[in-house]
């Protein structure tokens, strides 16, 4: 995936600084970005995205739970997990399987690569 295709991206992260920075970065790379502070906020809006960038630790529903709900709803939106915890530990491997995860702090390249993987996988289903 190159900057040539402007994507419509949604970011869910409860940290305001992270939201602001990520939006700035992705916009600077030419994409459209909408930001949400919680899973509930995202669900409340109707529009879909080309890719959902989802923080794992959220107040209320966490990242895993949102992913599950979207799948149950049959939402096709590809998902990328971002996390402050580092990469998935062996015990979490099953939970992360099928969803690309990048650990904060991540470079723009890593994030774009993860987005490309998620989109090309076509679906968020394992």
């Amino acid at each position: 995936m190159t900057d040539a295709y402007p994507l419509s991206l949604a970011i869910v992260d409860d940290d305001e600084a992270v939201r602001t920075a990520l939006r700035r970065l992705l916009r600077a790379m030419g994409h459209e970005v909408r930001v949400f502070a919680s899973a509930e906020e995202y669900e409340a809006q109707a529009a879909d995205a080309d890719c959902l960038i989802l923080d794992l630790r959220l107040p209320g529903l966490n990242g895993f739970e949102l992913r599950e709900r979207l799948r149950l709803r049959g939402s096709p939106t590809p998902i990328v997990f971002i996390t402050g915890d580092g990469g998935p530990s062996p015990s979490d491997a099953t939970a992360h399987a099928g969803t690309p995860t990048v650990a904060k702090p991540f470079s723009d390249g890593d994030l774009i690569a993860a987005i490309a993987r998620a989109v090309s996988a076509g679906a968020n289903v394992r």
Partner: protein
């Protein structure tokens, strides 16, 4: 009242000394006035005596004009027949109606107050002395008592002096006043054929001249001796005094045989002097032919013929028994008083007293009995001349008939004279014992303390059935008096000794150093159970100022403590440390005022205790630190998460900026915002790192006013992600504007952190949807309260208090130290912590912390001391 007794004793000694030096009446009066001035501080006084015609006349005075004396001459509240005379004290002459007629005289003389002190001998007034005061004077009891002591001694001395004054001898034999104007050797003419006998028994010749003098001196024993020392003639007075019917039994005998063996040398010497033409004199005792011991003052003079050759001797002997007795008695009395004053054992004093009394008269044996402290039993004080089998009968007996008339004496506090023990009912019990030991009469007087309490009895036993003569009665009274002084003194000394012994026992028991300071900080004295505890030798600090010895900051502390102790009369405590040669030692001084102008400092070495305290504090510090480390270890995931957020923001912003720089035109505003965000995030990351460092440090408590809301928020920042991970939603109700508390930021953070983690742990088994954690802060007049409330499993009943005990845990893992450490921190902040179960579910932990600057102020020392090793 030991002081008063001592004073009286001292006065008696002084008086005894002053009056005992002289037999001359004028000297006696002078000594009396001196004593009055010295002991009573009365500079104007006078001595008056009754004339033979019963008129009171001035004998000696100080500070009185002749007009005054003339004006008051003859006035006296007493007559020679007065008995039981007591001092009359006139505090203000203007208010005494009986003296009204003398008011103008007093005014002119400048007299405003008077003391009339009777001189009493054998119960009768012989005179008085007067005390004069220029201003109205309130007489106190001690003064009056001392005046009576002086009066008694003066009366005695005056009597003695008067007896002595009777026809005075000059340098002729004592008491002998030859009628002729010729004083000296007599001329004597002895006709060789003079008949030996003469109607008068006198050799003939010019003896007639001598004979006239005999008549004048017939009071004395006059003897004429031949050169061989044999008696040629004894005058009638001498015959009587020697206790024979007539001189026939004496004439022809050697005079020297009349004297004791040991005294004969002196007699010989006197005769030798007479033989040599001068007068030989001596004073010696000898028994009369009636068996009575008498003291004689003897002068042996030569009788010369016309040619000046000594042909005979004239020996004139004056019976000075009374004076001698008196002098011996005075000396004995003096000795007894000195023994008392120098603290000789009571038994010794009483024994000496008995001997002194017994020496005065023959046939008398004395016994002193002491009343026990319980007032019901009698102990033998002294009876040196009574047979032991008799005197021991009294020992331990109850007061009453078992101790004869002495019992009555002690019960009634009055003297009792028993002239015939055989028939007196008081002696029923002891009659046989008395008879066995040849005791026929008993004269007994009570021994009284200075407070007129009965201390015992003094008795004189006589081997004939009679009553005492005047002198003997006076002797008895004096003996009882002296015995009283002895016992009083002994008891007060004993009480003093016991009190000192108690003090010494206390000192011995107290393993401390004590210092006495003057109120301006000079070392006056010290006591050290172990002299090694003194860090410098006594000579290095005694007499020096504390400021010159102690290091200045310590000297300041001591100074302040001294001031407070002097002002409040309460003990002041001061803890301090001194660096000694190889170690630091800690001391506690308790400082208290003593006397009115001194300070007592009791110093205790508390190094061991202090070290233990410091060790304990260090241990607590270690534990607290360990607790923080463990928390942080638990929280490390959360912390890493916390750091990852700002780092992610920084990286994203930086990379965004790179992209923005490739655009044309450059959006400078966007770039600026980007960089600002980078800076913000970096600072945020820095704060997390800083907090981390703080918690990991093992630092000493730093006290400052803190906003508990702010501290709470800092803790929530740290635990934010952990709480998210644990699915614990937090609500806060932090009252705005709560007043500050004084405390250590890190330690209070630790408490809240412990409680939050504890609350989360309590909810770990609870359905996430049910979980909730609420933090509340609220303040009142005295303290700020923070409450952490959870909806967890709650605290088992009965464990609400023990939940704060160390190693009590309801978790499967964990040390159970978090709550214990939290409590110790809260307590060190002078606050309290408590746990309660909520009504619906879960528990609430409340911390109460006193306001900074409030009444329950947290002292730096307690928090610092408790939580740091110094």
């Amino acid at each position: 009242m030991p002081a008063a007794t001592n004073r009286q004793l001292a006065v008696r000694l002084a008086v005894g000394r002053a009056l005992g030096r002289t037999r001359d009446l004028d000297d006696i009066y002078s000594a009396a006035l001196d004593t009055l001035a010295e002991c009573l501080e009365v500079s104007r006084a006078s001595v008056l005596l009754f004339d033979p015609d019963g008129v009171m006349r001035f004998r000696a005075w100080r500070g009185l004009s002749s007009e005054y004396r003339a004006a008051v001459q003859g006035h006296s509240p007493w007559t020679p027949d007065s008995v039981d005379a007591v001092p009359l004290l006139v505090s203000d002459v203007t208010r005494e109606p009986s003296l009204e007629e003398y008011q103008p005289v007093f005014a002119r003389e400048g007299i405003a107050a008077l003391g009339f002190i009777p001189l009493v001998s054998l119960g009768r007034v012989i005179g008085k002395f007067m005390l004069y005061y220029a201003t109205p004077h309130a007489f106190d009891d001690e003064e009056v008592k001392l005046a009576e002591v002086i009066a008694s001694a003066v009366a005695f001395a005056v009597e003695r002096g008067r007896a002595h004054e009777m026809p005075r001898r000059s340098d002729s034999p004592q008491g002998y006043e030859p009628n002729a104007s010729v004083i000296g050797p007599w001329e004597w003419e002895v006709p060789s054929d003079a008949p030996a006998a003469h109607p008068d028994g006198l050799p003939s010749g010019r003896l007639r001249q001598v004979r006239q003098c005999d008549i004048e001196t017939d009071r004395d024993c006059l003897k004429i001796l031949g050169l061989d020392g044999r008696l040629l003639y004894v005058n009638p007075a001498g015959v009587a005094q020697l206790g024979v019917e007539d001189s026939s039994t004496l004439v022809g005998r050697r005079w020297i045989d009349f004297w004791e063996e040991k005294d004969r040398e002196v007699v010989e010497e006197a005769m030798a002097r007479a033989r040599a033409g001068t007068i030989g004199r001596f004073q010696r005792p000898t028994r009369t032919f009636a068996g009575t011991m008498k003291w004689w003052d003897v002068a042996v003079m030569p009788i010369v013929d016309a040619g000046g050759v000594v042909v005979q001797f004239k020996a004139v002997s004056r019976d000075v028994s009374a004076q001698w007795r008196t002098e011996v008695f005075q000396a004995g009395q003096h000795q007894v008083l000195e023994m008392i004053a120098t603290g000789a054992p009571l038994a010794q004093v009483l024994t000496l007293l008995a001997h002194v009394i017994e020496d005065q008269y023959e046939g008398l044996r004395c016994q002193a009995l002491l009343l026990d402290a319980d007032g019901t039993h009698v102990r033998l004080g002294a009876a040196p001349s009574l047979p032991e089998e008799f005197s021991t009968l009294f020992d331990g007996q109850p007061v009453g008939p078992r101790v004869g008339s002495c019992g009555t004496v002690m019960q009634t506090a009055r003297s009792v004279i028993v002239t015939e023990i055989r028939t007196d009912p008081q002696w029923d019990v002891l009659r046989d014992a008395a008879a066995r030991n040849g005791l026929r009469s008993c004269w007994s007087a009570p021994i009284l303390s200075s407070q007129k309490m009965v201390l015992g009895s003094f008795a004189m036993f006589c081997d004939t059935a009679r009553g005492p003569c005047h002198e003997e009665l006076r002797l008895l009274e004096t003996a009882a008096d002296l015995a009283g002084a002895a016992i009083d003194h002994h008891r007060s000394q004993e009480a003093l000794r016991q009190s000192e012994e108690r003090n010494r026992a206390i000192l011995r028991a107290v393993p401390d150093l004590m210092f006495v300071f003057s109120d301006d900080g000079v070392y006056l004295d010290f006591h050290a159970k172990d002299p090694k505890e003194l860090l410098v030798p006594p000579e290095a600090f005694l007499g020096k100022r504390m400021r010159d010895i102690m290091p200045p900051p310590l000297a300041d502390s001591f100074s302040q403590a001294f001031e407070r102790a002097l002002a409040t009369n309460e003990p002041e405590r001061l803890e301090y440390s001194l660096d000694l040669s190889h170690e630091q030692r800690f001391f506690e001084a308790c400082i208290v005022r003593c006397d009115s102008d001194k300070l007592l400092s009791i110093v205790r070495d508390i190094t061991d205790r202090k070290r233990a305290e410091l060790d304990a504090a260090a241990q607590r510090q270690e534990l607290a630190h360990l607790n923080r480390v463990l928390i942080l270890a638990e929280q490390s995931g959360a912390l890493a998460h916390e750091l990852s957020q700002p780092l992610a923001a920084i990286l994203a912003n930086a990379q965004a900026a790179r992209h923005l720089l490739d655009r044309t035109p450059l959006d400078l505003d966007e770039l600026r915002e980007t960089l600002d965000d980078v800076i913000k995030s970096d600072k945020r990351a820095g704060t997390v790192i800083h907090r981390l460092r703080e918690l990991l440090k093992k630092s000493n408590a730093v006290l400052q006013p803190l906003d508990l809301n702010e501290v709470t928020r800092e803790v929530l920042d740290l635990t934010h992600s952990d709480l998210l991970l644990r699915r614990v939603p937090i609500t806060t109700a932090l009252s705005p504007g709560i007043p500050p508390v004084l405390g250590d930021r890190v330690q209070l953070q630790q408490v809240i952190l412990n409680l939050v983690i504890n609350a989360c742990d309590a909810m770990s088994t609870v359905d996430p949807a049910e979980r909730a954690l609420k933090l509340t802060t609220v303040a009142d007049d005295e303290c700020v309260q923070i409450a952490i409330s959870d909806r967890g499993v709650g605290i088992p009943d009965g464990a609400l208090d023990s939940v704060f005990d160390p190693f009590v845990t309801h978790r499967a893992d964990g040390l159970g130290l978090g709550l214990a450490i939290s409590r110790s921190i809260v307590v060190a902040h002078h606050g309290r912590i408590q746990a309660e179960n909520n009504a619906d579910r879960g528990a609430t932990f409340r911390c109460f912390l006193p306001l900074a600057g409030g009444t329950a102020d947290v002292s730096r020392d307690s928090v610092v001391a408790m939580m740091s090793p110094g």
